[in-house]
Symmetry: C2
Subunit: 333 residues, 2 copies
Amino acid sequence: MANLQDVAREAGVSVATVSRVMNDAKNVRSETRTKVQAAVQALRFQPNRVARRLRTRNGLGQLIGLVVPDIQNPFFVEVIRGVEEAAYGSGNALILSSYQYDEEKEKLYLNLMRSESVDGLIIIPHGKKDRAVKQLIRSGVPTVCVDRYVENVDVDSVVVDNQRGAHEATEHLLKLGNKRIGYISGPTEMLTSVERLAGYQSALWESCVECEDNLIRVGDYKYESGNRLAGELLDLPEPPSALFVANSLMTLGALEAIHRRRLTIPTDVALIGFDDMAWAISLNPPLTAVSQPGFEIGRRAAELLFQRFSDPTRQTVRVVLETRLIVRKSCGS
Amino acid sequence: MANLQDVAREAGVSVATVSRVMNDAKNVRSETRTKVQAAVQALRFQPNRVARRLRTRNGLGQLIGLVVPDIQNPFFVEVIRGVEEAAYGSGNALILSSYQYDEEKEKLYLNLMRSESVDGLIIIPHGKKDRAVKQLIRSGVPTVCVDRYVENVDVDSVVVDNQRGAHEATEHLLKLGNKRIGYISGPTEMLTSVERLAGYQSALWESCVECEDNLIRVGDYKYESGNRLAGELLDLPEPPSALFVANSLMTLGALEAIHRRRLTIPTDVALIGFDDMAWAISLNPPLTAVSQPGFEIGRRAAELLFQRFSDPTRQTVRVVLETRLIVRKSCGS
DNA sequence: ATGAAAGCGCTAACAG
DNA sequence: CTGTTAGCGCTTTCAT
């Protein structure tokens, strides 16, 4: 592969000049520029990003890192796409790692990012007291947190109004005449879980409906727990008339539990899920769900990061996006 | 961030020595090694991967690139996970790009990979005559192609026996008494589509069932086409008793078309899909599907790449993995 | 077994 | 406007 020197020789100029046209600095005679561009074409020169990154301190338009908990979760995939599009659009390259909910792996990947000299980092942290993330942020790498906060750290973030989303969903169920609504929560150490649960409870309270502890089950955001806990709820002597499930994977589990019991949605049990997925519309009946703007979240996160590049001292901000209740047929009509 | 020099100073040795212990070369007195390790700990030194990559020619244990067409397709995500796990296990870092079926973007990302000096590349190419991929391979970067071939190029690849998978599925439908099976194919310029169609046809042929052209529709592997084409098939004066759909997204589309017409699966129409997805089991009834070993495909691809690192001259190989028919309830029993 | 020193390809002063 | 040159942090001969 050709390098700067080769191009310089070919064009009959110095490497500095070539570098200048590659980074389109203004102080180059247009004649020289043309000459250089020709040489670049001829040799199919492509600057070596590694060398460039090694040399430059805060080189713009380079590399950003994205670290997510789970690449199999379609919501995160939406976020990834949002970030990717923004990065692509601004000429940044993206390096992506998924730590599959493994904190050890998260730490490793965070270190990797640092040692790859990323200009900035977008992270969906594991927990709210994520040590590795905190340390990284404090070390000064421009960072934005997504979907979850990290406690006691001043950092840009973009999240969703989980409480309001859950509130709205619960309210919807209530309005349709459901008095006893089973809730399947995510793990309580995660902020999103807490917020969603709060939304569920506040909606009940607002409608003066008693919140039965027995109707709330705590899962781990994975399929199996959704399946098992929905089963428990459904097998109660006095089962709830509706189920609200706090994420898509657990909703899938709940669906299986419902079908296995030969229950009909929504007549036997209404169902509403947090996270709207591609398959929701193809279910029978189509699933009513709380949709999170994953793509937009990713886009905004990237934007925030770019802003910080250009103004490292600006106040950190927290962007809160709204969810949207997509009413389909799984709660009756 | 501390660098080699800092560590060297701290440990009272030269940078060369530090470098040696970091790459655990054998020719270091164990005493010196300990001293250095202590310094590394003390300064929390982490080698700068960028500098390392710039310096080393074919540095092992470094960076591999993965380029996929679509990060929203769960099958590709499985492949990604397979690659990731293998990379992680062998201490390689992974840089991932999805070109969203955009050839221009694919080219750009391929260039990016090269300019990041990846040691090797795993690619799910866009088309069988993918220029950019061919050029890259010819340029000598160790590469393995996944899921699809590229014509006229000698390259390691790992694929699936699409024809056999489709054959088996069709056969299953046939055995259950279906004589007229609608088939929704992917775009004919893609090899996987051609192979799957061939499997469908050979199964019919083997059972002496006439292959009606009218029962075969060509989609584009996306939701909308599955939806529309399933509709066309279902609305035929003499509709098929079963539908076989060539990928998961189109299956979702078909599902919606079936439900909208208030048809029951499998009594009114049996359904089988290529690609087994997380949601398949939660459908009502659970979906019978042809499962591709995505994770294994990714793992094998990575393995092939590592092999090539250690033996750049070995013959290229083509690994063909088998699909598995997962019989659930969507075809009757 | 260890150290000195020469780059990898690029950018960014600094000179001119 | 253009060229010269000194590194970025690391690996890797070549000496010792």
